[in-house]
Subunit: 204 residues, 4 copies
């Protein structure tokens, strides 16, 4: 059975506009296709996602359907632009909503996100990628995801205003990082699918 | 063959003084003993560690012998106190020195820290644990360590001055976090020992 | 003419629900009343604030009316709860929207937020206050606010789940921090009102 | 009487080697010279600075003489390189040592760093400047420094390995940031010299 990956694109723009984060995500997906990983991209700005930390905030909240995709996936990648050196507000909100499931358990009593693998992809005109990655990867690991090595793929330009990823297409450094992220999420997700983390010492 | 864990205690105090981080580490070690994991604690403040980002800064630099222990271990835990809401300067230095090996490879061409597992333990009178954990875990994952779920064990007190971990012994929350960190580093290290990450798409 | 302060309460809850951040803000306001500072609290979750980095994102975006209050104020305090060790998504969004005015200038050519004073108040069950404060205060200073000493007032409880600020009322440490934040924003705002920063070397 | 500025250069390299941070600092000093601000650069790696949080850790600790320069200055600028997206271990140590004076008061009972102005200059091959700046500026404000607007001057290159500041000399963006940092620290330091923060509501 093919591995499934979900990308949450946390661009501030809905899909009516082009997103540099989306261009970056496509570069990851190109590897997943070769590896036989099925993947889907959710542009969060297209949905009405309520503020809060419940699994379902009701009153039209569309997070629950996104959450189902995450629960069904083997790999979750948060993609975010950088604003003032940090991940976007929509990325922050995605983490708050994921955190809202942090006491939900699988049938063995572990957190529901156990045996899933997390990663982060980040684009910005300049500075802030590692800070954003650290925040995303830590949050995912804190709620149950496993973090493989080298799953912080990013591209940023020189200090100050400048071209975006969509315009530059990145560089050798970002291309190598994209490849490592794709392969290592694939390798670890496979491993955890075949050898799930024993429910010993880690149930809630 | 037993798994090996190395704790780098990044307290600002040498072992002539008591370290709350050390008390915390002992609580992790108690689990490792039951699990048959051999562990060793290095109090970095006891050593002369040169500033820089080479594997060996020479002129009496004692990092190389510590690095050998890390290279030989399956699990690396950085333990740090909190100062002004962040990990200690010695923890920062330990990360700089580990980063100095980031282009060194194993016999398959992957970063030398591949197939090792990382974690963080943090104590402080108050506030700053998650920030410190995010920084440590991100840095380790960036240079090749795998980060299992729930390997950010910490205790901090209420805002403001107050008792230390050595005085309080933590609470149920920190005890559960310690257990999860010990078991999940053990589970993942075992898994990676039996099933190393394939050298496909991730060599340097 | 009295100084004006605006509090942006970045709770995830609208004002139908009680907000611990709001209780905290009231403790700051008690000082402002004695000092003759007029203050107003905006619960951002009560408004429809569009995602984006334009001053007016249109289509019903209610940020422009909030922005007017900020532009009219001498003091801006961002108040936020802590989720997973960080400021809320609404606080992140508020910063993105403020950043959207970062190239707007006053009549001397300086950034529009020059001669205004910024501060941060933070509440949470546990850990994350300093990280949140650092992010908020840095962002404000980067776009033109002056940051007085000791304007990061917070209360958090011991590690793990526990009572909220509304239940505990804080402690001596948080009370002293609240007082310093109130007085220092007042002192600096007064100073900058009487002696605005010369438009020399800092125009856009 | 001329304003005095102290730069703490937190490069990992002693002054036997060239420091990009130092080149950057010189660009700030060029403005200070025109403004009549006397300035001095301390390369911290040239000194033996003990780990700890006391004003004087004794046994050869050379921090006390550096601390005297800081106490005597009107402006303190921390300069740091970036390693793995963060300020250097020496910058972290400088903050720990400054924090060691956080309960020392001036003759009015305020923290000793009141009426001084802080700033941050940061250089790196790539990514991490804003994260480093946020940490430095927050820490300084927390212990009593005032933070003027736009005092986070930095230069970083495109993602990945690449030339350093010394080789590129920065760009228009970094030059403008350097100018704003120099002028705003000067303006605010002047203001606080003539109009010190009243000792009302903010003594320790």
């Amino acid at each position: 059975m093919a591995l499934k990956a979900v990308f949450l694109n946390c661009s501030l723009k809905s899909s009516e506009e082009e997103s540099n984060t989306d261009v970056f995500i496509k570069d990851v997906q190109a590897h997943y296709e070769k590896l036989g990983v099925e993947s889907e991209v959710i542009r969060l700005a297209d949905y009405y996602i309520a503020f809060g930390v419940e699994e379902d905030m009701e009153d039209g909240d569309e997070w629950p359907e996104i959450l189902e995709l995450v629960k069904d996936a083997d790999i979750l990648i948060l993609g975010t632009p950088i604003w003032l050196g940090e991940k976007s507000s929509i990325a922050t909100q995605a983490i708050e909503r994921l955190y809202g499931s942090s006491s939900v358990t699988n049938d063995k009593g572990q957190a529901i996100f156990y045996n899933k693998v997390g990663g982060a992809v980040i684009t910005g005109n300049e500075d802030g990628a590692k800070h954003s990655a650290a925040s995303i990867l830590y949050s995912l690991s804190h709620i149950g995801f496993a973090i493989p090595p080298n799953v912080d793929a990013y591209w940023v330009g020189e200090a100050g205003p400048g071209p975006s990823y969509g315009e530059t297409g990145g560089n050798d450094f970002s291309k190598a990082a994209i490849q490592r992220l794709a392969y290592n999420t694939y390798h670890l997700a496979n491993m955890l699918k075949e050898h799930p983390i024993p429910a010993e010492g880690n149930t809630l």
